[in-house]
Every structure is written in C-alpha cells, then in structure tokens.
C-alpha cells in the first residue's frame, strides 16, 4: 500500500455553528513528510484530532495504514505517535517517568520501556535532565521530550501538530534536524504548521488549508511555480505611498500587486523588463522606492496569492500559547 494516510471529505462543525472543516481531502504517501499549512483557526488541528481518533468527523472518512479511524479506533491508536504544540507531557513527572508512563500505556514490557527510554533520552540529548521534573525544562527540551514520548512505541506514523510553534530559532532548527532524521529512517510524518519556512524546508508535499478547506496542494516547488518565476518587491516610505504605488502598478505584473504594510509585491514572469516598467511607472507618479528587489517566490507569496492575506501570524500570536486548545479552535474567524 503506498498511501499511509488517506483523508476523504472530512467535515466537522463545532458547537455554536463553527465550521472547522468543510470537506478536507488529501493523502500521504508512506515514508514521506506531508505538511498541512495554514493560519490559526484554519482547521489543521481538527484534522489531526480526527486522525488520532480523539474527535469524530461529522462526514467523510480517514484511514491510517488502511484502517478507518472511526470504526477501528483501538487498532489505529497502536499505529501512530502524536506530539504537538500543547506538549501533553506531565509537568510534575521527570522526563524518564513521562516516557515510562507512555510506554506502559502502550503495553510495552518493562525491559523494553527502560531500554527504549534510554535510547530516546540519549538521542534527543535529554540524558542529563532525565531525572528532573519537566517543569525545570526549557521550551525546546519539553518539545523534544514530547516527541520522544510519541516515539516510545516505535510507531510507523507520526503526527506533529505545530511542532515548533512558540520555540526560539535555535530550538526550532534542532527539532527540524530530528524530524528530518525520522523521515530518513522511514517514518511517515504528517505535520501542521503556520510557518512557511518550516513547510518549505521539511515537507515533500504541502496542502494549504484555510477556513476548513484545502485551497491548494502539491510540492513546495510546484506551488511556487504556479506563481510565476520571480517576485518584485518594492519598499516605500509609508503605507499611503505604498497604496499609491500599488495603483500605479496595477497593470504592470502578471497579476495585480499585493500591498503589505509599506511594501508592494508583484509576481512577474520576466523580471528585468517588468522592473524597468515599474520604475518608469513610479517615476511618472513621483514615487521614490526605498528598496527594490527581485527574488525567488516563497511559500509566503503562494499563500498571499491564494488567500489575499499574509500567512505569517503576528509575533504576539506565536508566543507560547498556554490557553486551552478549544478556545483557539473556536476563535471566530474574520470574514474574507
């Protein structure tokens, strides 16, 4: 079987008529890493909760290694590991005790639990902290332990729900290396992220999710190619100038420009020629750019192009989000 995970037309509506998912379909090939990319409240976590048998879908079906998550839940639970942004490990227990608890609840025998815990603690550089309660761990260490806990029973499928949200750049890149190592060893990984950089670096395939729908999917390269070959980025003195510049450049690129704060972005096919045209148009309007650059399109541009708004959340939203997951998921969405 080539698809480790299959998701067909998932729908889920929460109390209060909040439609979290309206028909999500995708599949993940065994041994690959698949990214669900989207902003807060897009429905990514709901997909993970359904796949991990925590939540029942209202409609549609999901399969893990060919087993239906709704009708074969007890079996499915033996097939995957789950780790995520709400590191669901026990603060008061030590690292080793947490791993032991998960091992016991997976019904592994004692010697296996001991040796497996030591392996994982060693591999994730947590041996020194193994016998300290988790409340003394840093954010990065806690995520690593959470990931180790998800791997205790050697699952062939790993779900990672925003594995690096709220982490500092150093801890993030450490975690990335670990995840890359896992995929090399044959694990199938489904991860959700709001970081385009993360999806770009880690995943083979990406599904972009917004408002409970998959709005685009493909490889990172294919998604970028849809956009055109180059992005022209013009920085201006202030937002008002950027708006005027945007108006001047409406017909210059292959698509209308996007204005983000004081920056105007244009997707173009032949960069140098359009750049000259753009400069002429701005000159006529007596607008002087502060920065002027041609660059490769990023997933940010893909997102902007598909949804009309930037994907990257504010820094304030990225902070360690200790609020209940429920609150976050039920946050009312802005209409487009």
């Amino acid at each position: 079987m080539s698809n480790a995970i299959e998701v067909e037309g998932l729908e889920k509506t929460f109390k209060g008529d909040i439609r979290a998912l309206c028909g999500v379909t995708f599949s993940v090939e065994a041994g690959t890493i698949f990214g669900l990319l989207g902003p807060n409240g897009a429905g990514k976590t709901t997909v993970i909760r359904i796949l991990t048998t925590i939540l029942h879908p209202d409609a549609g079906a999901a399969f893990v290694l060919g087993h239906n998550v709704a009708t074969e839940a007890p079996l499915v639970r033996t097939l995957f590991g789950l780790a995520g942004q709400y590191a669901a490990v026990d603060e008061k227990l030590t690292g080793r005790e947490n791993l032991s608890m998960v091992g016991r609840l997976n019904h592994l025998d004692r010697p296996t639990i001991t040796s497996r815990s030591n392996e994982l603690l060693d591999e994730f550089q947590l041996s020194d902290a193994a016998d300290r309660p988790l409340q003394t761990y840093s954010g990065g260490m806690r995520r690593r332990l959470d990931l180790a806990a998800a791997l205790v029973a050697r699952p062939s499928i790993l779900f990672l729900d925003e594995p690096t949200t709220g982490l500092d750049p150093h801890s993030r890149s450490e975690l990335w290396q670990i995840i890359e190592g896992l995929v090399e060893s044959g694990t199938t990984v489904l991860l959700t992220t709001q970081y385009l950089e993360e999806a770009d670096r880690l995943t083979d395939h990406i599904a972009i999710v917004d408002h409970g729908r998959v709005i685009s999917q493909g490889t990172s390269a294919a998604l970028k190619a849809e956009l055109g070959t180059t992005v022209l980025e013009i920085g201006l003195a202030d937002v008002a100038t950027a708006v005027r510049a945007g108006e001047a450049l409406v017909t210059t690129g292959s698509k209308p420009p996007h204005i983000i704060d004081a920056t105007v972005e244009l997707s173009v096919d032949d960069g140098p020629r359009v750049a000259m045209e753009a400069l002429r148009a701005l000159d006529q309007m007596h607008i002087e750019p502060i920065t002027f650059a041609l660059r490769e399109p990023s997933l940010d541009d893909v997102f902007l192009d598909l949804t009309g708004k930037p994907a990257q959340p504010d820094a304030s939203e990225v902070g360690p989000d200790t609020a209940e997951p429920r609150n976050r998921r039920r946050r009312t969405r802005k209409s487009r």
Binding site: L55, P74, M101, R154, S156
Partner: protein
Amino acid sequence: MTLLAIPHEPAVSSTPQGTYHRFRWVIADIRTITWRNLLRYVRIPEALFFSSVQPIMFVLLFRYVFGGAIHAPSGTYVDFLIPGIFVQTVAFGAVGTSIGLAEDLQTGIIERFRALPMARSAVLAGRTFSDLFRNVFVVVLITGIGYAVGFRIETNVPLFLAGCLILLLFSYALSWGFAFIGLSAPNAETAQVMSFPLLFPLTFASSAFVPVKDMPGWLQGFANHQPVSVVVNATRALMIGGPTRTNVLEALAWCIGIFLVLSPLAVHRYRTRT
C-alpha cells in the same frame, strides 16, 4: 539513525484478543494512571500541605475554640468530634478529584491519553483510586491528631477499622460525583468554586460537629437524613459506641446509591466531552 529505524508492523502486537487479556490491560492501565496521579500528588507540596494542614486546623478549631460551647449528647466532645472530622475531611478531599480532572483536561494530557491504545475507563478509575489512597493517608493522619488531642477509641479496634472502611467507601463514591463536576468545569478554579456550595451545607448542616437536636426544627429533617450525617452517625457508632446496625446499613445504602447514580454520569461526561 538505527534507533529510529521503524519496523513495518507496530511494536504493540495489536489490540488485545479475548476477555482475559482485555481485562489485564485495563487493570494495568488503571495502575499506571494511579501511579502517575500519586507521583503528581507527592510532587505538589502545596497540595500535600493543604490536605494535611486543613484537617489539623479543623481538629484544633473545634476541639479548642468552638468545642467548649457545644455539648456532646454523651461522653466527651472530642470523642464526638473526631468521627465528624473524618467524614468532613474526606468529603472536602473529594474536591481534589474534580480539581485533578479539570487540570488534566486543561493541560491537554487527557487528549494525549485519548490518542493512546489504553483503556478509556482507566483515566477515571485511576483518578478515583489515587484519591482513595490519599484518603487512607488522611485517615491515618487524623487518627494520630485525634489521639494527640484526647480522642480515644471507645469500642474496639476492629469496629474502629470498620468505621474507617465506611468512611473510605463514602469518599470513593463521592469522588465519582466530584469527577463529574471536574469534567463539567471549564478549568480547575471553576471546578473548585463549583464544589464548595455543595460541600458546605452537606458537611456543616450535619451531625459532624454539633448534635442535630440543637438545630432549629426546620433544619433537623434535612440534617438528620442527608448522607454526610448518616455516614457520620455510622462512623461514630462504630468508633465510640451506640446503635450500629441501622446506622451502618443506611450509610452503606447511601454509599452504594451515590456510586451507582454518579459514576455512570461521570463516565458519560468523560465520553462526550471533546
């Protein structure tokens, strides 16, 4: 990275086959969750402090501050008081069940449990068992304090132990009711706030601290027949003497009744809460 090399079949053989295996797994899961809760309990010094200091304060308060103004129907007030303190303390302790579950929901560990191949019933069973263990500790503690302030077993040790058994049974049944509250509350603080309006009338408008006959007539009907009084009367009869048969049977009926009504409610709440 050899250690992460993944076998194609899962390490766990699969779901258990047969009732016997299934049963053994459930017991193992309950033991694991109980172990985890007890570890948590000793790692939170505040909780340990609170649950031991609170009964000590109640003993001292009623023994030396209010005690002089209350007349025990027979014998000394301290003998009258200690069985009441036992029941009041385990009743207050049941709040711990609701706070513990509300916290576990809040931190997301219950989500992790739901995604593990473990018995679903183990989360609630493990919680109520660990609270039962805590109550054993509390009963031993109060016995010690009681002896220090002048309490003496007026019957005999087997009857005293039978009294403790009824207490623990009552605390266990009550745990399920408070489990329901904990699973219904949005967070631990609310779980606590929701619990006390229920506990105060039950513990104070009872025979735990004062003889019911000294209460106003309209209150006596409630105070005589509500479960805390019934359990206090049974415990008291077993520890310091008095008619035991009816008291004990009534108390047992309450314990079993509370358990039979509230445990399905808690289980239902656990299953439906997402």
